[in-house]
């Protein structure tokens, strides 16, 4: 493990977001001529899934949000905050707090899509989908792929992420064509990346900033069992 380094900042205000605090800290470090702390961030609106810090033993810190939506008022004055990168074999650390999450991209590339033939633009609402099913698929689709599930899981399992992506398409009529192959290929890729297996602790769902439910994992297991016994892939 890289040794933890304690850095003191005097410029933190309660109104700052966690990432603003790191920006200010990095300015302080740069002024002193020291190397800034590297961390991932992008939209800072809680929708891109780029920020990824393990703060005081929890992914995205003490609140069930993304790190960018966390504010310094969640901490006490004078606190020492431990910040670590996501720790998983499948998420190698690039530098400081930045990890390579391209394993998730490769799981999506393995089957997390719907093939669409070219042709005329289809009419809107051409395929009727019950509101309940649409809502369920949308709930699964809110996964932003931040990797907090992997970070929280004691087995570094990516099953909440993969199951959300499989569920989103398995629930909708558009996803039926590649349904069986998708489950088989995405799970094979997930295993090949070196993620662990699910032991149903529920930590992933409890820490997920989007509240992705464990029912998705049960659905993925069902999809997988039925694909293995009935798909045409030998």
């Amino acid at each position: 493990m890289d040794p933890l380094k304690t850095i003191k900042s005097e410029a933190v205000s309660a109104d700052m977001s966690f990432l603003e605090m790191l920006d200010v800290l990095n300015e302080e470090l740069s002024e002193k001529g020291e190397d800034p702390v590297h961390f991932d961030h992008d939209c800072r609106e809680g929708i891109c899934g780029m920020c990824s810090l393990h703060i005081n033993g929890k992914p995205h810190g003490p609140q069930q949000t993304t790190t960018c939506q966390l504010h310094m008022r969640s901490f006490k004055d004078g606190d020492t905050i431990t910040i670590e990168p996501w720790r998983a074999k499948a998420f190698p650390v690039m530098k400081d707090l930045v990890v390579d999450r391209s394993a998730f991209d490769r799981i999506i590339q393995a089957g997390g899509y719907v093939s669409v033939n070219t042709g005329g633009v289809p009419d809107a609402n051409e395929i009727p989908i019950p509101k309940k099913i649409a809502d369920e698929a949308f709930d699964a689709a809110t996964c932003i792929g931040c990797g907090a599930c992997v970070a929280a899981c004691k087995n570094a399992s990516a099953m909440l992420f993969t199951s959300a992506k499989i569920s989103q398409l398995a629930l909708l009529p558009q996803g039926q064509v590649e349904r069986k192959e998708r489950a088989e290929k995405m799970i094979a890729q997930m295993d090949a990346e070196g993620f662990g297996a699910c032991t149903n602790t529920g930590a992933c769902s409890a820490e997920c900033p989007k509240g992705i439910s464990l029912t998705n994992i049960a659905r993925m297991n069902r999809e997988y069992f039925s694909a293995v016994v009935s798909s045409n892939n030998v």
Binding site: H54, E84, A88, K89, T201, G202, A203, F225
Partner: protein, 187 residues
């Protein structure tokens, strides 16, 4: 000796071929469970080669769910002690014999069980291990359904409640045996 319905029932159970099938399958499934869990645990551990300096697992998951391997290992040791103490003695040990009117002369398992539970340490070991069993079941029962994909808005709450009932009932009733027999041995 008067015909004792309990002894008749037990005799019927001992002679029932179904009991033998169930006990053999039980051994097979326990062995498979141990081997498969060990393989999976090794894989799962290797998925995080570098651990966290600070990890707050208690904030997002029950203790039992995170320590099934530890609980399972304790229970495996318990099963081995239990088998050595009773099963091995009955099968291969020198057993006292007892004669009943209903069933003739049979091995007197009751006497060696009663003798074992006179020892307060032995009785306590059983009670404590049933506590570990309760923790193991508290996660294991509903977790098995989730793993098999058997999750449904109608049935999952029922499965959860049945799981709690099993968690409390089975270990409590098994723990009651050494407790009652130890108390009996005092008088």
């Amino acid at each position: 000796m008067v015909a004792n319905p309990l002894i008749c029932t037990l005799r019927l159970m001992a002679n029932n071929p179904l009991i033998r099938v169930v006990s053999i399958l039980n051994f097979v499934f326990i062995a498979a469970h141990v081997v498969y869990s060990a393989i999976l645990t090794k894989q799962n551990k290797s998925a995080r080669p570098v651990g966290y300096a600070v990890a707050n697992g208690a904030s997002n998951s029950p203790w039992a769910s995170r320590n099934m391997g530890l609980l399972g290992t304790i229970l495996l040791l318990f099963i081995l002690v239990h088998l050595r103490g009773f099963w091995y003695e009955v099968k291969f040990g020198e057993m006292p014999m007892v004669t009943y009117e209903e069933s003739g002369t049979i091995k007197d398992v009751y006497t060696i069980v009663a003798a074992s539970y006179e020892n307060v340490g032995y009785a306590l070991f059983y009670v404590v291990c049933m506590g570990f069993l309760a923790f193991h079941l508290s996660h294991g029962f509903s977790s098995a359904f989730q793993t098999l994909g058997l999750n449904h808005v109608k049935y999952s709450p029922v499965i959860k409640k049945v799981g709690y009932a099993i968690t409390i009932l089975i270990p409590t009733l098994f723990a009651a045996i050494p407790v009652v027999m130890y108390i009996q041995s005092l008088s």
